[in-house]
Structure formats: structure tokens, C-alpha cells
């Protein structure tokens, strides 16, 4: 049984009487410990799927199951599923120290031993423990994204949703963050659902990838099919060709 099962999901936003279908009839399933990628251009609905899983976007049709259970947004859910956002400059509270940001989930769930857990979390993402009482504006973009990752892992979830976690970062910092994510995934047996516009990043991180366009699923590719350019649809091919300079060799 797959850990994440999405069946025929549609998301419709209603604004001033107008309905905008951001996602239409998308299905996918991700077994435990697999990493699954969503790729597409802006407006393809890839991030909306992640937000729908988290309850941040309205599901208008279809079902989302986590571990076989229909999605309920309660405290048990948030301990299984966490998310890392795209922009590390917007996802950390500007007036909270790292200590506050990281200990908040512990306080919400009544978990004790905050001191030790915060220090461990900082160490796990490769930040010096002396940063504990810094504010976000005293950190670089890459360091902030490490904090965001640490925060997502505070509740020891099984599933981490990654919304373009490196697109706001420099290439060398992106490499460090991707390495960190791979390491944490191996150490903790995490399942990733990752959104990116960059095929090379998806290929590096994910076992399977779903190409999306205008809110619909276009084609699902395994990693081998992607590297071997064995795509069946024109759109997936054009996306692939636009990333041709990112091929191996």
C-alpha cells in the first residue's frame, strides 16, 4: 500500500465569483521511502497539490489518503506530514529567534526536553549551536533554508513536502541543501514529495516524476526514462530539451 495516495484530485479557487481550476483530476501514489517529483512551469498546479495536502488550498473533488486514511487536518496529521517552503526569506518569522521557531512545534504538541531537541536539530542540519538565539535576518539564505528544514523535522514526520526548496538559492548553496536533504532522507527513512521547475534537481532527488501542465498531469516518468529521454508526450520532451545543457557529460 502506498503511503501517499492521491486520486483524481481537483482544486478550484473561487475569487470574486470566478472559478479558477488550479488542479484538475490528478492522481498519483507514492510508496513509503520513495521520493516523488512534480515538475512543470509556473501555473501548472504543482505547488497547489502540496498546499492541498496541507489544507492550505481547497480540495473540490477527489481524495487524498495518507497511510490509507482519508486526510484529516488534525494534530496527528501534522506529526506525519511537514512542509519546506520555497522562499526561506518568507517562511521564517522575522521577529522570532531560531530557538523560538524550532521550539514552537514542541510547545504545540507538549513535547518536553526542548533544549536538547533544539540543539540536536541545529546540529542535524549542520548549523552551529551558537546560532540558536539568532534572528533570521542574521542568517544567509542557505542557512535560513536549513532552519526551515530543521523546523519541518522537529515533529519527526514520515513525509516531507518540498516546495521548490532550492530555487531561491545560489547554485553552490543549492548543492549543499540538496546534499543535506538526501542525507536526512537516508538517515530517517523519509518520504519526499518534491516540487521543482528544474528537471535536473528533480532527477537528482526523485525516483519518479510527474510532468504537469495547466493543472493536469501530462506524463509520469521513471528516473531511467527521464535520463534516457524516453518521454511520450511533446510537452515533456520540450521541457526536457530546454534543460538539455544539464545533461550528464
Amino acid at each position: 500500500m502506498a503511503l501517499i495516495e492521491i486520486d483524481n484530485l481537483s482544486v478550484t479557487f473561487t475569487a470574486q465569483g470566478r472559478h479558477v481550476r488550479a488542479v484538475e483530476g490528478v492522481s498519483l501514489s507514492v510508496p513509503a521511502r520513495e521520493s516523488y517529483g512534480l515538475v512543470g512551469e509556473s501555473g501548472s498546479g504543482k505547488s497547489t497539490i502540496l498546499r492541498a495536502i496541507c489544507g492550505l488550498a481547497p480540495v473540490s473533488a477527489g481524495t487524498i489518503r495518507i497511510g490509507g486514511e482519508v486526510l484529516r487536518h488534525d494534530k496527528a496529521f501534522v506529526r506525519r506530514v511537514q512542509m519546506v517552503f520555497q522562499d526561506p526569506y518568507a517562511s521564517l518569522h522575522p521577529r522570532h529567534t531560531l530557538d523560538r521557531t524550532l521550539s514552537e512545534p514542541l510547545a504545540i504538541h507538549g513535547l518536553g526536553d526542548a533544549d536538547r531537541r533544539v540543539m540536536q536539530a541545529l546540529e542535524a542540519v549542520g548549523l552551529p549551536t551558537s546560532f540558536r538565539f539568532r534572528y533570521p535576518h542574521q542568517l544567509s539564505g542557505g542557512q535560513r533554508q536549513r532552519v526551515a528544514i530543521a523546523r519541518a523535522l522537529m515533529l519527526e514526520p514520515e513525509i516531507v513536502l518540498l516546495d521548490e526548496p532550492t530555487s531561491a538559492l545560489d547554485a553552490s548553496v543549492q548543492a549543499e541543501v540538496l546534499n543535506l536533504l538526501s542525507r536526512l532522507r537516508d538517515e530517517r527513512g523519509l518520504t519526499f514529495l518534491m516540487v521543482s521547475h528544474d528537471l535536473a534537481v528533480i532527477d537528482h532527488m526523485c525516483d519518479r516524476v510527474l510532468v504537469m501542465q495547466h493543472g493536469r498531469a501530462v506524463e509520469e516518468l521513471t528516473r531511467d526514462a527521464l535520463a534516457g529521454a524516453q518521454m511520450k508526450t511533446d510537452y515533456a520532451r520540450s521541457l526536457f530539451e530546454a534543460s538539455a545543457d544539464r545533461m550528464m557529460g
Binding site: D74, R79, Q82, H93, F133
Partner: protein
């Protein structure tokens, strides 16, 4: 390690040190603004006057001396002159500072808190909660503040406590507006989504995450409003609905001097000057704080 080194430590060892360090940086920024420092000096002076009133006052503020009435400024023993009951104006202004300060302090701890709660709750929940709370706010805003305060005092009865209550009840709507506007911009940010995703309830989100973002704009607004509060308190005193004689409230003193405005100008002018200077002080400080605390300029 010296105190400044401790404050500037890039790796603070506790939340308290981190917070004080940030406050220290804000203070350094404020210090570069000479006008704000002038405003701060005026307010500190007011605090000193109020704290050391018995020492600084040369006479008993309510002791009458009818032989000595309406002495001009510079007369022996009365450098600001005396009023129509022969009371020393300087001493009355010094003791009046206590009343002004307590009015300000009481209004400053009630109205903004009320406004902040109403504004953030309305902004965060939206929908009918927002509609109801903001229409109530609109109703309060629809009346001129002094008129509304007058009506409230008329109902509650004259006196300094009721004046404070009336001012506080009329002063909160602008803070609710400011807090709501700020909440609307913060509500959809990723960091609020992140804490919601960790299972936080609305109380925790509003109190711990949204209010700290609204606080700076409310504080700026409060400082800028303080001049208005002083003026309304004085206005109520002037109309006989605030502090009651023989209390040396500044507005009341102007009211008493009104009869002698043309011949003995100092009786009304001296407390008027005091009101003017203190109002100016708060306005200058408020402008300076805006540059320091504004979330849009901080952290860059």
C-alpha cells in the same frame, strides 16, 4: 566583556540577550535622529517633573494666597507668576505633570491593547467576525472623538478616572484598523502557514505570531496619538468634565485662566505651553520610532 560587547554578540546565549541586542540596535538607530532624541528628552523631563514634584515645586500647588494673586512671571518667589487664587503656577504645572502622565499611561495600556485584539482577531478570521468587529469600529469612528468622550463622561459623571475611561473607549478604533491592515498582509505569509501546519491553534497564532508583527505600527501610532490624548484630557478638563478643582490639571488651569486672558495672559499661557511642549515631544518621538520600528525598514 563589556556591556556593549555583550549586547552586540552575534551569537547570544539566551532569548533575553538576543532581544536586548535587538533593542540596543534599535536604540542606536534612534540615537542618530536628533529630533527623536529631542522628543525623548522632553518626555524624560516630564517623567522627572512628575517623579520629583515635591522637590521641584516651590510652593504647595493648592495653597491659596489671595494677597499674591495674579502676579506676573518673574515676581519674587513665583518665576512663572501666580493665578487668580495666588497659587504658584510653576508648582501647579509640576504637580499637573503627574496627572497628565497618569492619564497617558492609563490610556496607553488600555486602548491599544483593546484595538490590537479586535483588529488581529477581525483580520485573522475574516468573514462575518471581521464584518461585525469592523462595523462596530466604524460606528465608534463615525463620532468625533471629543464629542464621544464628552457623551461618555456625561453618562459616567465628571472626574479624572471617568475621563480616562472615556478617552480609552474612544481611542481604540484607529488601533484596530492599523492592526487589522497589518494582519491581512501577514496572514497569508509562509511563516504563518508553517506554524499552522505544525498544528497551532488560532489563539497561539494570533498571540505569538501575528501580534508581534502588528505591534510596531501600533506603538508608532500610540506615540503619535499621545498628543491628541493630552489635548482631549485637557479639553475635558477645560470643559469641567475631567479633573475637578482644585486639582492642578493643565486643561483645567487654562480654563481658569480664560477670564484673565487679555490682562494676565500667563495664567492660561503657561499650562498651554506645557501641553504644547509635551505634545510636541510625543510627536517627535513617534516620527523617530516610525523609522526604527517600521517592519518594512527593519532587518535590512
Amino acid at each position: 566583556m563589556t556591556l556593549t560587547e555583550w549586547l552586540r554578540d552575534p551569537n547570544p546565549a539566551s532569548r533575553r540577550q538576543a532581544r536586548l541586542g535587538q533593542a540596543w540596535l534599535a536604540w542606536l538607530r534612534l540615537k542618530r535622529n536628533p529630533l527623536a532624541m529631542a522628543g525623548l528628552a522632553i518626555i524624560v523631563l516630564l517623567l522627572v517633573l512628575a517623579a520629583f514634584a515635591p522637590v521641584l515645586a516651590t510652593h504647595d500647588p493648592i495653597a491659596q494666597n489671595l494677597q499674591n494673586r495674579l502676579q506676573p512671571p518673574g515676581s519674587p518667589g513665583h518665576w512663572l507668576g501666580t493665578d487668580d487664587f495666588g497659587r504658584d503656577i510653576w508648582s501647579r504645572i509640576v504637580y499637573g505633570a503627574r496627572i497628565t502622565l497618569s492619564v497617558i499611561a492609563l490610556v496607553a495600556v488600555t486602548a491599544p491593547v483593546l484595538g490590537l485584539i479586535i483588529g488581529t482577531v477581525a483580520g485573522y478570521f475574516g468573514g462575518w467576525v471581521d464584518a461585525v468587529l469592523m462595523r462596530v469600529t466604524d460606528i465608534f469612528l463615525a463620532f468625533p472623538r471629543l464629542i464621544l468622550a464628552l457623551a461618555l463622561v456625561a453618562v459616567l459623571g465628571p472626574g479624572i478616572e471617568n475621563a480616562v475611561l472615556a478617552i480609552a473607549l474612544t481611542a481604540w478604533p484607529p488601533y484596530a484598523r492599523v492592526a487589522r491592515a497589518e494582519t491581512l498582509t501577514v496572514r497569508n505569509s509562509d511563516y504563518i502557514a508553517a506554524v499552522r501546519l505544525q498544528g497551532a491553534g488560532p489563539v497561539r497564532i494570533i498571540w505569538g505570531h501575528i501580534m508581534p508583527m502588528c505591534l510596531p505600527s501600533v506603538i508608532i501610532r500610540v506615540t503619535l496619538d499621545m498628543a491628541g490624548v493630552i489635548l482631549i484630557a485637557a479639553g475635558l478638563g477645560f470643559l469641567g468634565l475631567g479633573a475637578q478643582p482644585p486639582l492642578s490639571e493643565w486643561g483645567l488651569m487654562i480654563s481658569a485662566g480664560r477670564k484673565y486672558l487679555f490682562e494676565q495672559w500667563w495664567v492660561a499661557t503657561m499650562p498651554g505651553l506645557a501641553i504644547f511642549i509635551v505634545s510636541l515631544g510625543f510627536n517627535l518621538l513617534g516620527d523617530g520610532l516610525r523609522d526604527v520600528l517600521d517592519p518594512r525598514s527593519a532587518g535590512k
